[in-house]
């Protein structure tokens, strides 16, 4: 008999007023008992709509059934057939617009907590004594992966499992891409990312850090001189966008990328860090996505008294995951919606002292289908802040395009790839934010997975 509780089993979290002063993980995860209880809410409907909502098509009802029966190891095996980073996805996927959005239970009540169960299974697996991973039989073919973010790691993992000799090239000093420089410790502990990377290494994947492909080696060199038969480009989102308003280069104005990289990758939140960061008292974060929420919550934890999210549309249009918005509110982040910055103000030393905004109202829907924000004339006002974090998106890094002949890109810079990830160059595949522009971890993973299958097919056909 299924558990007919209308609500998901609650996720235990750190108290908001405690956690907004530390970088420990916010959500603490289900216990075995709670996980079994939640798993019993699944109706095991015939149509399995949740699976179609998952970009990597995890056999969701099957793994949930194993959880309900207390077979956590079997549940993990089912998830890992489709996903190489379950502990990550269970934490950062926007389940409410994917699997859980399609859940039949969700029509009348709350959907099954699929994300929470995925996380539970992955964490349970990681807490077990390490099972020796069986290294697959090498097949003698070399593939290069550029970028060690979710797309690259997934692609590398899938190919390594098939016996490929995979080398991942990472520009930074640490593997993980956005999972280590962008998403904060309190949302995705870095030890989890490290564990996933270590698992790949055990599978035989080589990870070369400090390698900026396009500078130190080109894609052509990798293929012509180093014997890589195929290359996957998962180089990520790239350059931060700014608003082009006066005052944007004042001291105390950060891109979200810079603020988060200093905090997460360079660990500026620790006592006596080697990398500095401003511990501002009043901070405005411009933008409404997950990255904006992460930046705001980091700023609060770094000791800010007041942190504002300044977003030009209304709450309904906020692109961030619902849970992130809720967590941010609980932690005391102040939402200044329907406001748009027009100028950042500074003192004689060119440090930020305030931000001038204009009030907005929503007009007719625009190309994105969302109602277009329109400025309200004469409604300018100043918020008193000493730091501003711009989180309005990124544009692709032109480095690989400019150093790879015959690699076609969109007008806006994204690499053009077909539904299998194939670019305009034979043997060169791409996926993730480098192709789509800024999107989610799971979509990048889906793209890495698809490309891995296509690369396998390409190399097998070529060598027939």
């Amino acid at each position: 008999m299924p558990n007919m509780s209308p609500k998901k089993a609650e996720m235990p979290t750190q108290d908001p007023n405690v956690r907004n002063k530390n970088f420990l993980e916010v959500a603490m995860g289900y216990t075995e008992e709670v996980a079994i209880e939640e798993a019993q809410r699944c109706l095991h409907c015939k149509t399995r709509p949740c699976v179609s909502g998952c970009p990597v098509h995890i056999a969701i009802p099957d793994f949930i059934k194993e959880v309900a029966n207390g077979n956590f190891a079997a549940a993990y095996d089912i998830i890992s057939e489709s996903s190489s980073l379950p502990a990550v996805c269970g934490r950062v996927c926007p389940q409410e617009t994917q699997c859980e959005a399609k859940c039949v239970r969700g029509i009348k009540t709350e959907p099954v907590g699929i994300g929470r169960l995925e996380r539970f299974v992955a964490d349970w697996h990681n807490s077990q004594p390490d099972a020796k991973i069986k290294k697959p039989e090498p097949n003698g073919h070399k593939v290069a992966v550029i970028g060690s973010g979710p797309a690259g790691l997934t692609c590398a993992g899938d190919l390594a499992k098939k016996g490929y000799d995979v080398t991942v090239f990472e520009a930074l000093h640490l593997a993980g891409g956005v999972l280590v420089y962008g998403i904060p410790e309190f949302r995705l502990p870095k030890s989890i990312v490290q564990k996933e990377v270590d698992t790949l290494k055990e599978l035989g994947v080589k990870i070369e850090t400090n390698m900026v492909i396009g500078r130190v080696l080109s894609i052509d060199e990798l293929m012509d001189n180093y014997g890589f038969e195929s290359v996957f480009i998962g180089s990520g989102a790239g350059l931060p966008r700014f608003m082009n308003i006066p005052g944007e280069n004042l001291c105390g104005v950060y891109s979200a990328n810079e603020f988060l990289t200093r905090t997460n990758l360079m660990k500026a939140y620790k006592d006596d860090p080697s990398t500095p960061i401003m511990h501002a008292k009043k901070v405005a974060v411009v933008g409404g996505g997950n990255v904006a929420m992460d930046a705001a919550r980091c700023a609060k934890r770094l000791g800010a008294d007041e942190v504002y999210i300044v977003y030009r549309r209304s709450e309904e249009e906020l692109p961030a995951r619902k849970e992130e918005v809720e967590h941010a509110k609980e932690e005391g982040i102040i939402f200044k919606l329907l406001n748009n910055p027009v100028e950042i103000l500074g003192n004689e030393d060119e440090f930020v002292t305030g931000m001038k905004c204009i009030k907005m109202e929503l007009g007719e829907p625009d190309a994105s289908g969302r109602r277009r924000p329109v400025p309200v004339e004469g409604s300018e006002f100043v918020i008193d802040v000493d730091a501003v974090i711009i989180s309005i998106g990124t544009s692709p890094n032109p480095l690989i395009k400019s150093t790879t002949k015959g690699l076609d890109t969109q007008k806006w810079g994204g690499i053009i790839a077909d539904e299998n990830g194939l670019t305009s160059r034979e043997g060169v595949y791409a996926g993730g934010d480098a192709v789509t522009g800024a999107a989610t971890v799971i979509l990048a993973m889906g793209a890495g997975k698809t490309a891995a299958a296509a690369i396998d097919e390409y190399i097998q056909n070529k060598n027939k």
Binding site: A171, L172, H173, Y181, T209, N210, M211, V212, R215, V216, L217, G236, G238, L239, P240, F242, N244, E248, N249, C251, G252, Y254, S255, N257, E258, T261, R262, L265, M266, K267, D272, S274, T275, P276, M278, D349, E350, N397, P398, L399
Partner: protein
């Protein structure tokens, strides 16, 4: 890990190191930079390439001890390892097709001006070098500059060596004496580069400046190195580090460079104290 194969103290505040990094040595060009981390959890700092030996597979860096990270770096010896070393980053200095160039270097900036002067010399360009230092004790690379320069002028602020004065004085004189430069390339403190541009602009002599702002990743991802060039925001790491000196907003760059001054002073003193304790 990247091994230090050679270390040489050039003056009390400036040190030369050659680092084993064959792939970077193969590709590096004058004007490009590397980013290094001395140790795990260390800060990432950019240093412009001061030379490379493609055959030996080494990259030369010359750095001034200005803060905690360079202090720690200076405590490493030959045979020790640097934790991370990545590059070559940025766009190489434009050196092709030039007939006569004046290279103006200041202080430790001379270390990165030298490979530019050497490359120009090798390409058959007439090279005039003006290099400036605060005093005699701080002079570096004099012989190396002489070897690749058709005209060589050394300045010190206090006149303890070479001629007394700032680098812009002989530059102004050379221009007024009728030297026709295709380009002036200047590398040094921001304030010096600002005044070099002030000297060349009235004569409309194209002037390239090499910017060295605060950076983290060095690949365009963070935007911390942004500066205003011709009213537009540019990233020094991917659009530079060389820029048209006439168009750079130096005053803004100086303010941005001082953003973490207090933090850096504190970190430097902490590090110095740490080493003092080790000595005791």
């Amino acid at each position: 890990m990247y091994k230090i194969v050679k270390k040489k103290v050039l003056n009390p505040t400036v040190t030369l190191m050659e680092i084993d990094a064959p792939l970077i040595a193969k590709k590096a060009e004058p004007g490009q930079f590397i980013i290094l981390r001395v140790d795990e959890d260390g800060e990432r700092i950019p240093l412009t390439v001061a030379g490379y030996d493609r055959e030996a597979g080494t990259v030369r860096i010359i750095f001034q001890i200005v803060g905690a990270t360079t202090e720690k770096l200076n405590h490493l010896e030959e045979g020790d390892n640097i934790h991370d070393f990545v590059g070559p980053l940025g766009v190489p200095t434009h050196t092709e097709g030039l007939k006569k160039v004046c290279v103006v270097g200041g202080g430790v900036g001379c270390a990165i001006a030298l490979p530019v002067a050497e490359k120009l010399h090798k390409l058959g360009c007439e090279v005039h070098s003006i290099i400036g230092f605060r005093n005699k004790d701080l002079v570096i690379l004099e012989d190396e500059f002489k070897a690749c320069s058709d005209k060589f002028i050394l300045m010190t602020d206090d006149g303890s060596y070479g001629e007394k004065g700032v680098v812009t004085a002989p530059l102004e004189k050379l221009i007024n004496d009728g030297e026709k430069y295709d380009l002036v390339i200047t590398i040094g403190p921001l304030i010096m580069m600002k005044f070099v541009v002030k000297t060349t602009k009235p004569h409309n002599i194209p002037t390239t400046v090499s910017m060295n702002p605060i950076m983290i990743d060095g690949t365009g991802m963070c935007g911390g190195c942004r500066l205003t060039v011709d009213g537009q925001t540019k990233f020094a790491c991917v659009d530079g580090p060389d820029f048209d000196g006439f168009k750079v907003d130096f005053d803004e760059a100086m303010k941005r460079g001082a953003m973490y001054k207090n933090f850096e002073r504190h970190a430097y003193e902490e590090t110095c104290n740490l080493f003092k304790k080790e000595v005791e």
